[in-house]
């Protein structure tokens, strides 16, 4: 049996465990042991600002995705099967288009000469084009778009397991629909909220393509810090230290959340 897993395991060891280990080593070793790279990451302003911005954007994206995703998951759960399949298909449809394709679509929509600005000017709502892209706004709009399915799917999976009887019991005891929602349904859906929020937050922390293309160079997220240190400045040690801090943040979040719900649930395998 071990022989059967060995090819797959070998690929994983050679192409993810070894490279990440290499990064970790490189972050602390340069002609001898050094913590200089970490000192820079934790004290220099650009690094701090980038980490802070990344966490802020990730929090905002997670919050918006929850606000947008919860009603959709709720609706999909409360309509007949045919409708819920349609709703879920629409949710996963963008999932299967490349992230690059969607970045292009958002550029086409949000640019100064883009569809939305042209439409608003045609309606005489605005006289000057709005700056919708090449800033944090554009990054957040496109990032939420990409990550929303990761929120809706675990929410829907959790809601489906909530027995309908409980809501009826609440109603029969005299609670209004909103009260049964707040006291019964909402608390029971919290594991799904936690799973969805974790996935969206963690994925957002490492986002690269979308902020790079829609952020206009001003929204420097941590991933861009890593790539610039490698490609532009040849600062491999600094890039590695940033990567290690990012990875540890992600693992710490997974570990913290796994104390409340199983990892399988977060990764959407159940």
């Amino acid at each position: 049996m071990l022989a059967l897993v060995s090819p797959a395991l070998l690929v994983i060891l050679a192409l993810i465990v070894l490279p990440v280990g290499w990064l970790a080593w490189q972050s602390i070793y340069h002609d001898g042991f050094t913590l200089e790279n970490y000192r820079r990451v934790f004290t220099e302003d650009i690094y701090w600002r980038s980490f802070a911005l990344t966490f802020e954007i990730s929090l905002a994206v997670t919050g918006i995705a929850l606000l947008l995703g919860y009603p959709v998951a709720y609706l999909a759960n409360s309509v007949p099967k045919g409708w819920s399949i349609l709703i879920l298909s629409l949710v996963v449809l963008p999932f299967w288009t490349s992230v690059l394709v969607r970045a292009y679509a958002w550029l086409a929509l949000l640019q100064r000469t883009g569809v939305i600005n042209q439409f608003l000017r045609y309606l005489d709502v605005i006289s000057e084009p709005l700056a919708l892209v090449h800033n944090t706004f554009g990054t957040v709009v496109a990032t939420v778009h990409i990550l929303l399915p990761f929120m809706v799917l675990p929410l829907y999976a959790t809601m489906q397991k909530i027995p309908g009887d409980l809501m009826q019991a609440g109603a029969s005891l005299g609670a209004s629909p909103s009260l049964t929602f707040v006291r019964v349904f909402l608390p029971l859906s919290l594991p799904g909220v936690l799973a969805g929020c974790t996935m969206v937050f963690v994925l957002c922390l490492g986002f690269y393509i979308t902020p790079e293309l829609l952020g206009g160079g001003r929204t420097v997220m941590v991933s861009m810090l890593v790539s610039r240190n490698v490609e532009l400045y040849n600062q491999f040690g600094a890039a590695s230290a940033v990567a290690v801090v990012l990875l540890l943040s992600v693992l710490a979040i997974f570990f913290a959340v796994s104390r409340f719900i199983s990892l399988d649930r977060i990764l959407g395998q159940k």
């Binding site: 897993v5 797959a8 395991l9 994983i12 060891l13 050679a14 490279p19 629409l90 042209q118 990764l267």
Partner: protein, 261 residues
């Protein structure tokens, strides 16, 4: 429950708007790709296939397309058997270490891709695999493995291992009984896993940005560079083709999975 409450109406409206937000960007690409305008204008001034012609006439885009398809095909050919073997072993073995190995095989989904990309770049730089086809294929095999493993494990869950025992008690060896009894029954999830690995390889961008170069640059890398430097409607044509291709593949995978397994 027959009367529709205001809260219910609000739920319908909000959900409709969110769904519109989700699908509008996907739908907007096709009309742009058939527009004659050099810049993004809406509505498109006239119908034209010039961006498709530019794509097919451009040797750089064609070379990138060949590279992408080669990588994706080789990825499937390598990742599928490795993933199936691993999933089979994980589901059959009662060894405790299998649980750890299972988690390890899902690592590509957990580690932020930018970190994986930079790490692979450093390792490849040492062993001379940067800007080579084998290097690109190997990286995509690693990224595609979790999809095969997850899909096949799901298929194996509904398979009764006792059937294989029967075959073996009738004299087949383990390998033959796997191919004669087990594989036909999990075929659908194997094919679905392979298709997901193909799509993953076709769409992969970030690792390619770091480790590809020269003549071995996949479509996504050229698209990324083109999008960053100057927005060219040829990308709308390529995007439309890519989206159509991946939808057809997903439908194929979905149809496969529904048939059983």
């Amino acid at each position: 429950m027959t009367r529709i409450s205001p809260a219910r109406i609000a739920l319908y409206v909000i959900s409709a708007l969110v769904l519109l937000y989700l699908i509008l960007p996907v739908l907007i690409i096709a009309p742009i790709s058939f527009s004659s305008a050099r810049f993004l204008t809406f509505p498109p001034p006239s119908f034209s296939t010039r961006w498709y012609q530019e794509y097919f006439a451009n040797p750089a885009w064609m070379q990138a397309t060949r590279v992408t398809l080669t990588i994706a095909l080789l990825t499937v050919v390598i990742a599928t058997p490795c993933g199936v073997a691993a999933a089979y072993a994980i589901s059959q073995s009662r060894l405790r270490i299998m649980r750890v190995i299972h988690m390890a095989l899902l690592l590509p989904l957990v580690v932020p891709i930018i970190i994986t990309a930079v790490g692979i770049f450093f390792v490849y730089a040492k062993v001379g695999l940067v800007a080579t086809l084998p290097g690109l294929v190997l990286a995509n095999v690693m990224l595609g493995l979790p999809y095969v493993v997850i899909s096949v494990l799901a298929g194996l869950q509904s398979f009764d291992p006792a059937q294989e025992m029967v075959a073996r008690s009738l004299g087949m060896n383990r390998l033959r009984s796997f191919f004669a009894v087990t594989l036909p029954q999990i075929k659908s999830s194997v094919v679905a896993g392979g298709i997901f690995a193909f799509i993953s390889a076709m769409d992969e961008t970030i690792v390619a940005l770091f480790i590809s170069g020269g003549q071995y640059q996949p479509l996504t890398k050229r698209m990324f560079t083109a999008l960053r430097d100057e927005i060219d409607p040829t990308i709308a044509a390529i995007s439309t083709l890519m989206t159509a291709a991946s939808f057809m593949l997903v439908l194929a995978a979905g149809a496969r999975q529904k048939k059983g397994g």
